[in-house]
Point group: C2
Chain length 145, copies 2
Amino acid sequence: MGPIFDKKKIRPDIPGILLLSHGPMAAAVLSSAEMIVGEIDNAVAIGFEIGQSEAEFSAMIREAIEMLPEGTVVLLDIQGGTPCNQLVYIALQMKKECWAVCGLNLPAVIEAVSLRETCSGKELAAQIARTGQEAIVNISEKLRK
Amino acid sequence: MGPIFDKKKIRPDIPGILLLSHGPMAAAVLSSAEMIVGEIDNAVAIGFEIGQSEAEFSAMIREAIEMLPEGTVVLLDIQGGTPCNQLVYIALQMKKECWAVCGLNLPAVIEAVSLRETCSGKELAAQIARTGQEAIVNISEKLRK
C-alpha cells in the first residue's frame, strides 16, 4: 500500500481534490490536468487496482480524506462502481464533510482547481457537475468541410 | 514513436474507438474501462506527451484512423486542446469519415463499446455525448445521513 501523500505538501487553506477510479484513470487524469494547469496542490488520486481488496482501497480513501483539509471534493469515475460505493460507505461514517461528483472528466478537474479557493464545497460540487456536462460536446460537424 | 497497434487485432466489422488526451489520461481511461467491460477490440489510446512534437503526435493520430475501420469515434479529453485541434486538422484532410466527442469520461467510453455494433457513427457520437453528460451526477447528498 505505502504512503500516497509523500509528494504533496498539504495546504490547510484550500479544499482537497480527491480523484477515485477503477485502475489508473484517477492518477492519469490528475497528471494530464497538471500538464495543462501546472502542479495541483492538495490533490490525491487513488485507483482501485486488480487484485486489491476493497478493505485496502477503502483504507486509502479514508486516509486521504483525513489528511486533506475540510471540504474535500471527490471526483469519481462512474456512479455505482466500487470507488463510488466505498466513498459513500466511508463518508457516512466520517465526521469530516466532503462533496462528490461522478462521471469525472478533465474539464471538471480543471474547474475544481480554478474555483476551489473561492467556492464552498456545496457550490463547488454543483459547478463542477455543470462544467463537466457542458464540456461534453459533439464536434463531429467540425471534422467535415 | 514505435508501433502503437501491436497488441490489438483490428476487426473490420466494428467501428474503432480512438481516445486522445494530453498525457496519460487516454490510455488510462481505456485501461480502466477494460477493468469493467473486459478487453476492448479496435480501441486505440494516444496521449500528447511532454516534449513530443505536434507533428509526431499528429502522425500517430493519422496512423490510428487509417488503421481502424470506417466510422471511428474519437473521444477527446478537452475541447480546444492540442489533441482536439490536431484531430480537426487531420480529419479535414482525410477521406475517412470519423466522429468526435470532447469531454471524455468513463461512462461515455463504456457506452461507445456497448453501442458501436448497432449504431451508425452519427448516432453513436450523439448518444455517447448524452450518456457522458447524464453520467455526471452530484452525489454529495448521499454522503450525509
